[in-house]
Symmetry: C2
Subunit: 331 residues, 2 copies
């Protein structure tokens, strides 16, 4: 079992590889090699009972995939993308990286021929949806992205479905919820505050909430997101049929509910570290985002969400803070 991870240096990529290194198998088969690809330098690989190679390359360049696919990896996790904000700011780079990169991957696989048909798991996004929405987005709701990023992901989904129907790949596109609590430093992503207001106060730092506390959004913890990717790779796709893009389950909650969960776990002094300075630009962007789903297909296929936002916070404390915070927690 040889696994190729595209975009391996990112947060999900790193956690995925660590998890695979711990489990040692996928599709009930022992892993004997993982190739990590990214355009930036990946952190050192985790300890594993198998070989972990690292390749730095720009996937939108012709010829890169020929090297990566040379010995026909059995499973490919395609996580490589530039984020929404960057794809909106740089139109050409967005299409080149997020769309052409995906298409070149699929074309390179097709042109290998000779029955090569790898399992492919693609991280799509709830950004394929654009407001106005129903109260909960059903599995058969249409994709009307309001960003170039969402457009590129929706086009990738269509290609993956067609290449799967044609028998060139065995692909699945997972529309990932916003990953929360995202570890690391605060960044400038418009969605950053959903994580900042939890992560920073837990270590005694302030964080700003730029939107109204009644803003509702759709979340999955990093641990749960990784479990979804692995579940997708293990899934018998004959159960999926031709509709290869699946909205993942998540936790729908308001910012007020996020803060209430933080208070339950870390106390009222902790939540006092959240400042409330409105930012009209962020509020406008966020108003176009999905808030809630009815992900029946994913649940029927065995994808599992976090239980609630308290669980999402507990997972963050366990996985990122070694179980400790600055507060007397009730984990």
């Amino acid at each position: 079992m040889h696994i190729l991870v595209l975009g391996a240096a990112g947060m999900l990529g790193s956690k995925l590889i660590t998890k695979l290194a711990m489990s040692g198998s996928l599709l009930s088969t022992q892993i004997n090699r993982i190739t990590r690809q990214d355009v930036v330098l990946a952190p050192p690989p985790p300890t594993a009972n198998f070989q972990i190679d690292t390749q730095m390359s720009d996937l939108s360049q012709e010829g890169e995939f020929e090297k990566l696919l040379d010995d026909k990896p059995d499973v490919i996790f395609h996580l490589a993308a530039i984020v929404s904000g960057e794809a909106e700011a740089d139109f050409e780079k967005g299409y080149r990286t997020n769309f052409d990169g995906t298409r070149l991957l699929l074309e390179s696989i097709r042109l290998k021929g000779k029955g090569y048909c790898p399992k492919l798991v693609f991280t799509s996004s709830i950004a394929v949806f654009g407001a106005p929405f129903p109260e909960a987005i059903d599995d058969d709701f249409f994709t009307t992205p309001l960003t170039s990023y969402g457009t590129q992901k929706a086009m990738g989904e269509l290609l993956i479905a067609d290449y799967s129907r044609r028998g060139f790949i065995d692909g699945l596109s997972l529309r990932m919820p916003t990953v929360c609590v995202r570890p690391g430093k605060p960044n400038k992503a418009a969605s950053g505050f959903f994580s900042n207001i939890i992560r920073e106060p837990l270590v005694g730092l302030t964080a700003n909430l730029p939107v109204s506390a009644d803003v509702r959004h759709w979340h999955a913890s990093p641990r749960t997101a990784i479990n979804m990717l692995i579940h997708a790779a293990n899934l018998d796709s004959s159960l999926v049929g031709h509709r290869r893009a699946i909205s993942m389950p998540g936790v729908s909650c308001t910012v007020a509910e996020q803060i209430a969960a933080l208070k339950t776990i870390a106390g009222s002094d902790c939540v006092k570290l959240i400042t409330k300075e409105p930012d009209a630009t962020i509020a406008k962007i966020v108003s176009g985002w999905p808030q809630n789903f009815n992900p029946q297909r994913a649940l029927a296929l065995g994808f599992k969400p976090d239980k609630d936002f308290e669980e999402i916070i507990r997972i963050h404390i366990e996985d990122e803070l070694q179980g400790k915070t600055n507060w007397t927690t009730h984990v």
Copy 2:
């Protein structure tokens, strides 16, 4: 007013140009030039009070659009495509013509820059939908094409919405019903029989029905299809918003209802010319096609369907047969 018609030699392209030549204006502005583009030789242009140029070119070749967009046409009708069967048989040609052609057009427009933002009308298709369907397909139903052609059209829709949102074009994608009665000779398209069983008996020839008479489908006459294209070009797209792909209204009827309409118009001897030799391959293809829509958006925006299938037959007799058939008609 300069109009560019891509795919001008096809049935819709020819009829569109004839109609524009007759009316002489679009968007309440006098037409002073039409450029006809196609990869095959177009029939002679109709008589018109303005210049009609003809350019033969392959749009999937780099550089072709630079020439066609040189003097910045105000309105572009993008009808150029290879049909479903060919796109399924030739994977590479399908993506090159139907997808890369569309993307190159949009990129060439974007790169003109300096505020150039033409009106663009794209003929998408109900092939963006794939079974299973609800009883009638609502405007917010998802696109899950079961052909590469449908995939390419759905990807084109996404690009046109994003390029419109970005202000590079003012685009609309019309999901056209099956055009019926299609004039000309019978062809090998799987959908051909819907037209054949009307067109051929009307001139005293036999035609075969390869599917069960209870097959339901979604139709528009050529005249009505052309009216939709012109209505789209004239439409104030601020009324449309960011959702730039619109399912067009049509007539939903079974083959039995088509035949009943033919009998009403041309009598029972005429319908006896329809033979009924089943074709399992065609039956299987057709079973994946949409049957009925609930096109509320299009109706609210002023797009008009044919009244019923009898009207579709009468339009064929008026427009293609100079009002005459071999039968005593009740037109």
